[in-house]
């Protein structure tokens, strides 16, 4: 869907993005991670030409982005940023309607789309539509920011730390919403984030930036187990890695026949949760139940510990 070819951005003598090439599949979520100042935002903004590359090019669906005037290009690409950037002089509904209006949709279609998106993000259109941004909570504003970015059925959604300012609970909810909505709409997402949990849990692939260079681009499991550089390893935290790895998969395929007592664990729970439950209750094994509550078998502490080891893959 997005092809980034040898993209470079230089400010005077500062090479901020250095010869980055990247292929992003249609419908994928790619998380871009890296230290502060490593060029993540710049890379993202070169995709919708908010920043013009010094050299290299970007293709979207095979078409060079330079073939279209920047503002027209951006109407086909969603863009959501930290601090949301909602227009304070416009209502929530008008904010969401921004790009459809620019594209000249008729009124009824815009209205229907706004209602649909607000409902999708859990904001009752009749109540929130006519409000101004300052009458919403931070989390609600953030959701409106994402809804606005999605309004005109973009093929691509660019997000720059969209949930950075939210508290953990609201953030988790926003991430779950994003995942569900992305699956539903099939939009390709490029997400810049500092939150490694967000990257590993949300993304299909993770791109790691280090001083302007793309040092690794792989699945979360690959990045966790075979980091390309010391920096990539450090970023996920040596003491956190096994747990992050566990959280990527459910306990379903670790289930084995047997008997165990105590509180059962759902088969679709992630392995990190299962490990925590076992450790907390001081058991060596726990029963696993399916969606209907039926017994599927047990999961053991030993299997979980084994699964947390990098060499297991």
């Amino acid at each position: 869907m997005i092809t980034i070819e040898r993209l470079t951005k230089r400010y005077d003598d500062d090479v901020v993005v250095d010869d980055v090439s990247l292929e992003i599949a249609e419908g994928a979520i790619v998380a871009v991670v890296g230290a502060s100042g490593s060029g993540k935002t710049t890379l993202l903004r070169m995709i919708n030409r908010m920043v013009e590359p010094t050299s290299g090019r970007v293709l979207i669906a095979g078409e060079d982005t330079r073939a279209t005037a920047p503002h027209l290009l951006r109407r086909s690409i969603g863009y959501a940023i930290q601090g949301h950037g909602l227009f304070p002089h416009r209502t929530i509904a008008e904010n969401v309607a921004t790009t459809p209006k620019l594209l000249g949709w008729d009124k009824a279609r815009i209205e229907a789309r706004v209602d649909e998106l607000l409902s999708l993000f859990g904001l009752e259109p009749a109540i929130y539509g006519p409000r101004r941004p300052h009458q919403l909570s931070g989390g609600q504003q953030q959701r409106v920011g994402v809804a606005r970015a999605l309004a005109a059925f973009p093929r691509v959604l660019l997000m720059d730390e969209p949930f950075g300012a939210l508290d953990p609970i609201v953030r988790a909810k926003a991430q779950a919403d994003l995942r569900a909505i992305q699956r539903k709409l099939g939009v390709t997402v490029v997400l810049v984030t500092h939150d490694m949990d967000e990257a590993t849990s949300l993304a299909d692939r993770i791109a790691i930036m280090e001083r302007g260079r793309l040092v690794q681009e792989a699945t979360p499991v690959e990045v966790l187990t075979h980091p390309a550089t010391q920096f990539a390893a450090d970023m996920f935290g040596a003491d956190e890695r096994p747990f992050r790895l566990l959280s990527l998969k459910s306990v379903a395929d670790l289930t084995q026949p047997g008997e165990a007592g105590g509180e059962p664990i759902a088969a679709d729970a992630d392995r990190r949760e299962a490990l925590a439950a076992l450790l907390w209750s001081g058991r060596a094994a726990a029963p696993v139940t399916g969606a209907g509550g039926e017994r599927l078998g047990i999961v053991t502490l030993a299997r979980l510990v084994e699964a947390a080891a990098a060499k297991a893959r």
């Binding site: 601090g83 949301h84 909602l86 227009f87 002089h89 921004t98």
Partner: protein, 246 residues
Amino acid sequence: MKAAAWTLRLLTLALLAVYLIRPETFAAALAPLAPAGAPAVYTQSSVLELAAIHVAIAAVATVLATAAALALAVFATRPAGSAFLPLFRSVANAGQTFPPVAVLAIAVPSVGFGEAPTLIALTLYGVLPVFENALSGIEGVSPAVLDAARGAGLSPRQELLEVELPLALPAILSGVRLSAVIALSTATIGSTVAARTLGEVVIAGLATNNLAYIVQGAAAIAALTVLISDALGALERWAARRAGRG
């Protein structure tokens, strides 16, 4: 509080209207201030006409100044004009150090006596407040909002007209109000170069030592200024609410 303010406003308006239409109404009240034997009410020319010219000069000057200031501020905040911003700033700051009387007096030789030099002085003097306010209004638009606007696909023109200017409007209007108040007060001084404004009444009072003239001229101008500034203030608050800050 609100009712009191409205009563005060309406009372001021009513008194001003009565004075402008039938100044003789106040003859008795003003008589003690006039020197013995001198008239208490200014009748050399129609005060209504003077007030109309006064307001017209101030209005035209404010409109011209606003147009010029907005053009400069918009130009200086576009990429093409950003190099000029520091220069405009220092010119505007230096312009503030020119006293209105001096601008008025210097304009006389080139355009003659009357309303013309007054209009020039008022216009030049009115540019600064609008320029400074428009600048801080436009620069005050949050970078996140601009970024989002660009990201949503607004063209530079749409960004200016649909985001920057509406959000800067309260600040711009506050500059316009300042500019209008300065214009109304400086128009008074215009009478020293023979512009026909309400200042004529005050100057006549100074010339003939007639305190009654000074009082009525001053009161009429003050009432006019307060009412106009009040109305523009209401407009400003409306704009601020619309800009999502209310």
